[in-house]
């Protein structure tokens, strides 16, 4: 889950880390009041779950109360990369002397968390400057010396070495304590009088660790509700999945094509979807089904996919399955189509699920005249055969 800037900064402030003074506002009038409270120069920052806000026009500067009001007024109600601006963080502008970059995330090659630091921060940090990488342990708590080493490697000494060193170590502790998957400070700023500031932060939390981060997530109510918001179509798929514990069938992403897809599981969904696009067919959805779903579950998913007005055909494709009952999938799909008052042989352009009870499945499909394929026909060959029906 991506944590919005204002909630991430609140967490960092609670840890005693240096975050500029700011106020969250919901209207341009409140923005003007905030600017008055914070002093002359402020930054107006749209609170959105995306990166690259500066380039997208979501961050603006104002030198006066009136300027803050008009800049905020221009941002509110705007859509930036598909997200509506509903909240703005008005923050004290910092008189920047220099900018640095700090990031912590997991690295596949070392199989560990890694700290990345660069003496030159900013919006194009990935293409500029020397970068320091420091993998660290998940078993032994990060020591203060690691932060000092990083500060020294970046060329700092004296007070600044100690200040940056402790900041780095504290961030490493936060990363582990919060079960973060990304904690990025860009830029980390030193102002003209030598103070250090976390000017912007990008925090991502591990959804798989939510079970042990309940207190933390409670503090992040805005980010949580934003992360949980999904389209009506996806919500209905999730509800079908939750009503019956048998099998997995919750992940359904809509597209605008006419060919509905019931495909699974993880790798097979990727393979089937590639084959469908390669053949020039137009998918109506992505999905991943797996485990041993009940007839009811498959029937409801079939109806949901076919309920999209542009969808008139359906393909059912899975890998050679180990615990899915083929006959149950066949019955579910056919029941769903019949309940919608349609003819299975006209809707289903291809059914390929080899595995347990495949003979029983084939008997059902043959009875309804549905074109079906066995384990001797590979996934791409099935899609080629389907293509011929369009």
């Amino acid at each position: 889950m991506r944590v919005l800037e204002f909630e991430a900064k609140q967490l960092l402030r609670e840890q005693g880390l240096p975050v500029p003074q700011s106020k969250l506002v919901n209207s341009s009038k409140e923005a003007a009041e905030a600017a008055q409270f914070l002093g002359e120069a402020v930054v107006i920052k749209a609170q959105l779950p995306i990166g690259g806000r500066m380039k997208a026009g979501g961050i603006r500067f104002a030198a006066s109360q009136a300027g803050a009001e008009s800049e905020a007024g221009a941002l509110f109600g705007q859509k930036i990369r598909g997200f509506l601006v509903e909240r703005i963080l008005v923050e004290t502008q910092i008189d920047i002397d220099r900018e640095l970059y700090l990031g912590i995330l997991y690295e596949a090659s070392t199989r560990s968390p890694v700290l990345i630091a660069s003496a030159s921060g900013g919006i194009d940090v990935e293409v500029t400057g020397t970068v320091i990488r420091r993998p660290f342990s998940c078993v032994i708590p990060p020591g203060d010396y690691i932060g000092r080493q990083v500060a020294a490697d970046l060329g700092f000494s004296g007070k600044n070495l100690l200040r940056l060193g402790s900041l780095v170590t504290q961030l490493m502790h936060c990363f582990l304590r919060w079960d973060a998957t990304l904690l990025e400070i860009n830029p980390l700023v030193v102002d003209k009088v030598g103070h250090w500031w976390i000017a912007d932060v990008h925090l991502e939390l591990d959804d798989d660790a939510a079970f042990r981060q309940k207190d933390l997530l409670e503090k992040l109510s805005t980010s949580s509700s934003l992360a949980a918001s999904i389209s009506d179509f996806e919500l209905r798929a999730r509800q079908i999945n939750q009503k019956d514990h048998r099998g997995v069938a919750g992940r359904l992403v809509p597209f605008d094509g006419n060919l509905g897809l019931l495909i699974g599981g993880g790798g097979a969904s990727l393979t089937s979807f590639d084959a469908v696009l390669d053949a020039g067919l137009k998918p109506a959805n992505y999905c991943e089904i797996g485990g041993n779903p009940s007839v009811w579950k498959i029937q409801e998913l079939t109806k949901l996919i076919l309920s999209q007005p542009q969808v008139d055909r359906l393909a059912v494709i899975m890998n050679v399955v180990s615990n899915t009952r083929v006959d149950l999938v066949a019955r579910g799909v056919i029941k769903g189509i019949l309940q919608m008052g349609k003819e299975p042989s006209k809707v289903i352009v291809g059914f390929r699920v080899p595995g347990s009870w495949e003979d029983e499945g084939k008997a059902i499909l043959d009875y309804y005249g549905v074109p079906n394929f066995g384990r001797e026909t590979s996934i791409d060959q099935v899609v080629e055969a389907i293509k011929c029906q369009f």
């Binding site: 995330l105 990935e126 998940c138 990008h202 990727l270 590639d274 180990s322 590979s378």
Partner: protein, 301 residues
Amino acid sequence: MSILANEDTRILVQGITGREAATFVSESIQYGAQIMAGVTPGKGGLTVNGVPVFDTVAQALKAAPCNATIISVPASVVRDAAWEAFENGLPLVLIVTENIPKQDVAAILERASVVGARVVGPNSLGIISPGLTRIGMCGGKAADVRRAYKPGPVGVISRSGGMMTEIANLLTMNGIGQSTCVSIGGDPLIGSTFLDLLPLYEADPQTRALALFCEPGGTMEERLAEHLKNHPCQLPILAFVAGRFADRMQGQRFGHAGAIVEGSKGSPNGKMEVLREAGVHVVDKLSQIPGILRELLGKDL
């Protein structure tokens, strides 16, 4: 021969009383796997399909020595189960559980490298050396496993457990058997990557070619390609990369940190390109796999 799993593999199952574990234990025994003992804290003294259950790994190993363990416990306690396995000297730890916190996975893999244990997974469906044994649940019921998997010269490594059975079945249907198939799990952080397993296959006299199933994300394909450029491999390698559509549609954005760490890595088309440059036979369609392997194997088939 084979790698990792053979007729001498004696298996422990941590979390044996769970529904999923009880099912794959019974199916594995029917396939001929030696499941020696199981562990579920608080349930010592029970049996699952004739396999004795103990409260601790130490007790289980004392009663029935094992050289591999399958961890099939809830995500929140996998780290503890893995550390118990390491402390008791188990050299091969297969983790079936998925959705484990990343921090726990990193901690497990860090400990494993310290104690010298091999981890396969998380989110692995298992390891199978057809005709010899199976560790895990790949392929399902014994009869279905015998139908999809046959002994032979091709090693299969797959980031998807389901597609491993699909590929083995495709090979078997075309008269090409397999030496050992390993479901390594699809996450970026895993215990055994393509590159980690390569030396084992190179040392195995039965294996004459490798087939890899790759997915988007992570850097293990790129790291394999990098290695192959500097250390040419005697075994011909074939790869299929799934999820190319991710490049065409709006993919996941990694942000600055991801861009620094992964560079341009992670995209399916990028993976195909670097693998090709490294001499790997990359196929565009699954159905091309048997034909190309047949050519590569030549008289070894």
